[in-house]
Amino acid sequence: MNRMKDMTKVLLLIMVSLMLMIGCTRDTEGSVTIADQYGLAYAPLQIAKLQQLIEKRVPDAQVNWVQMANTAAIREAMVSGRVDVGFGAIPPFLIGWDHGMDWKIATGLSRSPLGLVTLDPELQSLRDFSAEDRIALPQPGSIQHMLLSMAAEEQLGSADALDTRIITLSHPDGVSALLSGSIQAHFTSPPYLFTELEQPGAHMLVSGTEAFGEPFSFIVGYASRACYDSKQKLYRACIEAVQEAVTFIEEHPGEAAQLLSQVYEMDQELILKYLTAEGMVYDTQVLGIRKFSEFMHSRGYIEEEPRSLEELFWD
């Protein structure tokens, strides 16, 4: 009997503390947390960070930058209220939106060359993959996975034709796996894409643009409702800062490369070459969201299809 009482007490204590923890709001209005990922497509954010473009607009703001390994992690951080603005591709955004996440797209960030690279001379098209061949990409449901599915549907007749060959590897692991020959192809983005294409014998089996059929945004920025509703000033500052950084890269690519060479620990010349590579476009316009949502809906990756763009964009 006594034990039962103890147990009830402990359980009550756990419950109350859990509820207190969950109820807490961690941020004040004066701070904003922005999450991005690793890669050249996020370059304007590095510029905004280095040049303090948000602080310039809201001088007393506390801006926290975090770098996360993948969009799933950013999504989870945004659900729990730890991140206000996150950057990633459109498909993971749509998956979150479909599951009822209260977030919308705030801005575009970049278009980028993407592609499925192989070093194997035997592989010349998607048709040539044998059952044992492995294709690495960051994760199922990622933009790389969706583009591969689009290409598979176009060339092989079914969107999931290559799914049983897919393994998930982070971009850097994918590069070493491709170079060591333990995978046959890797769907990736710059700088990894460029590194791989510089290898002797490397060729692209399908490019992002070929798969998608039209230009599309690779990286966009999403903001939670909590951020949009209660931190308007900071939200605006973020969007303007991104715009300013995008313009800066466009107008001063040399200076931008110099700044970025420290961040990415890469040679300045090389960064400049990559920044100005064909297909690498920094742009706040969001392209391709219609086509992504139609495709993902018709293949069952999302259950609901957005009826209007207002459901997906803050402004």
């Binding site: 969950i22 659900v79 998956i95 199922p140 590897l169 333990s182 995978i183």
Partner: protein, 263 residues
């Protein structure tokens, strides 16, 4: 026998009591609607996700893949550990090398080796097996060697008097006498390899047929199916409880308690 059964019943009752109360608290928190279902889905949602994966056979298949990987890796690891332990027992020279190797490799988490393993042996099942063998071999070697060194010299002398060869002494005396150490080693090996296989599957999974439970959970995560994630974790918990609480206890009961191996 009666006592042991009563003890096992009492374990089951305690476990069930705590688990049920936790679930109750869970559901109460969910019903306050203050927490997003993306963080804490209702038990019904988890239950129905669990059920639908169960009837399609997905969960059983995924769990089967993970368990059979651990069994295969565990077997290879144990055999290799036995070879190492016997070699170290027979030769002082080899013992030094094996000591050093164990000291270096034992504290290394298998997951830390994963990037290297991908380079060596690719991204297939072999790599996962390498990680599991790594998780099994060192604790088993350590335990087998302590087991061997704990065998009383008198038993070995008795064996010699019977005219046993070195191999005979090993098979008839050393291994049975150090069984309890081996069992303890197996327990550690199981715990380490189970964790390793689930983590490895979460870091590089293979879509389609050959994924395990870690992959199942990872897949639920990338498609934001929180209820499915919890369902996968529930399966992990069930397997863990059955193996730790019942399988190993049973093995212990059937062997050590009966043969009286522990002094």
């Amino acid at each position: 026998m009666g006592l042991d059964r009563r003890r096992r019943m009492s374990i089951i009752i305690t476990r069930a009591g705590w688990i049920l109360s936790t679930l109750l608290v869970w559901q109460l928190i969910v019903s306050t609607r203050r927490v997003s279902p993306l963080i804490l889905p209702s038990l019904q949602a988890i239950g129905s996700s669990f059920w639908s994966s169960l009837i399609t056979g997905d969960l059983v298949r995924y769990a089967g893949v993970s368990i059979s990987l651990v069994l295969a890796g565990g077997l290879i690891g144990t055999l290799l550990a036995a070879v190492l332990a016997v070699a170290a027992y027979q030769s002082k020279f080899l013992a030094g090398g094996i000591d050093t190797l164990t000291a270096v490799a034992h504290p290394l988490p298998g997951i830390a080796l994963l990037p290297l393993v991908i380079l060596w042996s690719g991204t297939g099942i072999t790599s996962v097996l390498v990680i599991i063998v790594h998780s099994v071999i060192w604790p088993m070697t350590i335990n087998l060697r302590s087991g061997f060194s704990s065998v009383h010299q008198r038993y070995i002398d008795v064996g010699r008097n019977y005219g046993f060869s070195r191999l005979g002494i090993m098979l008839h005396i050393m291994i049975p006498a150090s069984w309890s150490y081996m069992l303890a080693g197996l327990r550690i090996a199981w715990a380490r390899s189970w964790r390793a296989v689930i983590s490895a599957e979460m870091i590089f999974g293979v879509m389609g047929a050959s994924g395990g439970l870690g992959w199942y959970i990872f897949q639920r995560r990338v498609f934001m199916d929180t209820a499915g994630m919890y369902a996968g974790i529930a399966v992990l918990i069930m397997i863990g409880l059955v193996i730790e609480d019942h399988l190993f206890r049973l093995l212990e009961h059937k062997t050590i308690s009966r043969w009286g191996g522990r002094q």
